[in-house]
Amino acid sequence: MSETITIPVLLVTLIIPLASGILAFAVKGELGRLVPIVSSVLLLAAYIVILFPLLSGTQLTEQFSVPWLSTGNHIIRIGIVSTPVTRLMATVVLFVSAMVHIFSIGYMAGEKNTGRYFGFLGLFTFAMLGLVWSANLLITFCFWELVGFCSYRLIAHAHEKPIAAYAATKAFLLTKAGDIGFLIGLMILWTQSGTLELAAVTTTPGTWSTIAGICIFAGVVGKSAQFPLFNWLPDAMQGPTPVSALIHAATMVAAGIFVLVQVVPVFTPDTRLIMTGVGVVSSLAGAAGAWLVTDIKKILAYSTISQLGFMILALGLGEVSGAFTHLLHHAFFKAGLFLAAGSVIHAMHRAAQHQPGFDVQDIRNLGSLRKQMPATFTGFAICAAALAGLPGTAGYISKEIILHAAQQQNLWWLNVAVWAIVFATPLYIFRLLWFTFLKPASHNLTVQEAPWVMRLPVLLLAAGSLTFLFRNGHLNSFASQILQTDLTVPAGIVIGSLMVTVASLLIGWLTRNAKAPATDFLIQTFLDGLNLLLVRFILFIATLARSFDKKWIDRFIHILAYGKVALAHMAGFTDKYVVDGTVHGVTLAARGLGGITRSVANGKIQSYLLWAIAGLLIFITWMLY
């Protein structure tokens, strides 16, 4: 095995998803039925391409960059940055995406528009990988926007449903609001350091750096669904469930955290403090939301908000490796949870297709699925344990690291918050598990276990959520490369978190039969209300602008035009009565004068004689004097 794998290998991982996407768009008709399988195979191939050198410990060190855009004395280069962080992220993205592709073979079977679905799935993966490999923040931003576009189109996959269209629009606009901040942040960074190369970006400490940091962070707040821009994520559940898995685990929301992981070193302490604050609020609000709603997908969506908040809080503390590890672990267990939930929904849909009013996503309608869907249950339970941070799972490790980092800060609100999250997470995920799989069912439908193409991805992702994969083998050496911290945390934290988790599960068990709260007040009443108010306000301003355009500018123009016409009429009047009047007057005067002279020259010899004598007299008089 050669020691260095050249950049083409990395480029291949980028090209394969793109090719898969284009293929899915292009192929129509009978051949189109092969698209799901071909796409899945392609994605798996891409995963193997990247995994193989990774496992064999081969160094992928070569950098690659070509100029893309140059103007003035600045050049933007397209480059691939190959560090342990980007390679690990790309591996996880490709793995989750491959799983989602395989799962979709079963989930989308018999659906319309699978070509478009797999097309955007491939494009989505491509965009995310581009973002991961990118060595320049402007290119990162390009892929960042592309990720947003793909998720927009996938959320609106069932575009005939008005609610799906609404959810997609909302998702795009709220993230776009953050992206505006990102763009401003990039501009400030660029004016400050004259480059957007990831490796070269620096900031000079000061207010501008803080503002730049906050602006970039605003982009992350939108993309990673953090307070106050998080209300698009629960609505985005309108998209097909595998898409949710992809959005929540590997692409859309993960993009925000991933970019933060890369740029957080240049952030100022002030920016980081704000990040911690936002992370705390989001993780608490997310956990509360997850406990309050009853829609199976919405619970998971709120849980994502909470988990991402947890990561952002860690990033704010400077615990970059902890946050990044948690991002990777989260990718596994959250994708597993979503795909398992997708299996449940898919199976329930089939079972309940003759009961139109039956809401298959409401956990109060589910139950006893453990027996009917044992494989799905196993996968779901393992992933749920990882989310809850039980020992032996991947989620446990990263949770402890972040807890440790938070403990070292002397911020009481921070400590209260992290312990509250440690307590709340097992509580809501146990409730979900209980209602869906364990509780006796209130219905008597016969539910069939999902086909193997759907079971296998869930189980693989569940296996990925277990610790041994990360503690042993090559992945571990790889992880320790980036972690650069030992995984030992003080015993107090280990014991404390264990006790809190157990207490949480115990309370969950004791209150398992209590009536489930079912309210979405956080989103529907509060944030959506605020949003609606804002939208109304903007629309009001827009109508104002429109009436201004019509009433004032156009009216002004019309008045000018009327003025001109009036002026023209006046000119016409003048022409008719003054100018023509003068002319007529002159003619009249001339005629009058002519009349007088005519009356003088009247042809009578006597009067001529009279004038002649008078003239002569005048002449003589004049001569004498």
Partner: protein, 526 residues
Amino acid sequence: MPYLSLLIFIPVAAALATLLIPARYTRAFPWITLGVNMLQLIIFIAMTLHFSSGEGLQFAEQHAWISLSLNTWGELQAEYLVAVDGLSFPLVGLSVLIMLIATISSWNVSRSRKGYFALLLILNGAIIGSFCALDFLLFYVFFEFMLLPMYFLIGIWGGPKREYASIKFFLYTLLGSILILIVMIGLYLSVQSPERANEVVHTFNVLHMQHLENFIPGSWLDATSTGTWRLWAFALLFVGFAIKLPAVPFHTWLPDAHVEAPTAISVILAALLLKIGGYGILRFVYPVFPDGAVYFSDWVAGIGVVSIIYGALNALASKDLKRLIAYSSVSHMGFVLLGIASATTEGVAGAIYQMVSHGIISAMLFLIAGVLYDRTHDRLIENYSGLASHMKHYTAFVLIAFFASLGLPGFAGFIGEVLIFFGAFQSHSYNNLVPLWMPVVATLGLLLGAAYYLWTIQRMFFGTFAVRASYAELNDLTAREYAMLLPLAVAALLFGILPQLLLDFINPFAETFTGTWFSLGINTNP
């Protein structure tokens, strides 16, 4: 080979030839026009192969045109002077492409086809002439020649309110050209040709006007005088071109003209005629009056920002699809002003890039509106929903055009906007011409842009299918419509992914523009 004269006069000659053909051969006229477009395309491709981007003005043709001795007033001199550089060459290419698309779009015009295509050909020659002319008088002739065909094309082949729209368009633009005329005469009286040093030879040559030493000492617009005449002249000339751009508050002719104009004419209007405004500012206003440019820089940028936001808000409130697209043009052309005002290489290159990309994308947008109007004769957004389920290919192009227009990376619009933002942000620390808050506020335009497009998609294309307008058939795209939309989509994508294709042409111009001409103005920073 006189490439440029061929480009300009082949359509004019064809227009004259068209007039000789009896009107009953209705099928001949579009074919003749298409032939001319193809010929132009070939000529343009040949020019591209010969164009050397580092060289500044090229393909120059210079002939004596008017030469009059005026005794004590010196000598009147106007030349036939055409040439292209990094500013005009991309715009000429854009014109060739768009006129081709416009011909295809006009294929089924039903009323008096002879007159229509003859006017289209005259318009073609006049537009390309305007982009190439470097003699102010020659430019003015072409500029005015554009106006008349446009007036008739809207006024005869337009929609129900065409008379109002065409007269409004005509008067507005005429006002602009009068302002330009005033300054042109002033410049003519103040500038002497350096070619004959001993005698005073007045000239319309724009290149001579761009050198302050060519201004006659003591003349009206003498560069060394301390009076405010030069500032006035800048303002008048700027407004003259800003009407064409159009910038708020000189824009209200645009929505009416667009709404009433037939599709092909809307396309030409948005893609090419608006560019004359931006082109004029870059070619005449800024280089001739750099001092005014510095003095008024925050006004120019401010008008740009107001256009961006105000245009976007109006688009958001529009109920008519074509009106929405028209206002989005106002918003996007505001970016051009912002880029120019920054007077940085990035900003100016971005402004030119934005003009080209807007030319491509707005053409797509108006074609899209036309596709729907052809089928239902209704443009009200509220009368449609769920079109995506009936017209898949059409919806795909709508998505491409809308997202390209709202600045999705990968499409040409993004490059222009991002370069403009680079320039405008940099200006604060570089030459302090644009206050920092202006580009920050302008970014809101991006958000509003996303809002009106996405909202339109949500209302018209998603949801359950319903059309509240009478229609015979709601087919998906025809082959002819594909032939119009596909090249534009490919161009938008190509220039979005490989920006250097275009920037290689634009950069040298932008550098010269900011480097030599602006160094003169910066010194007299008030």
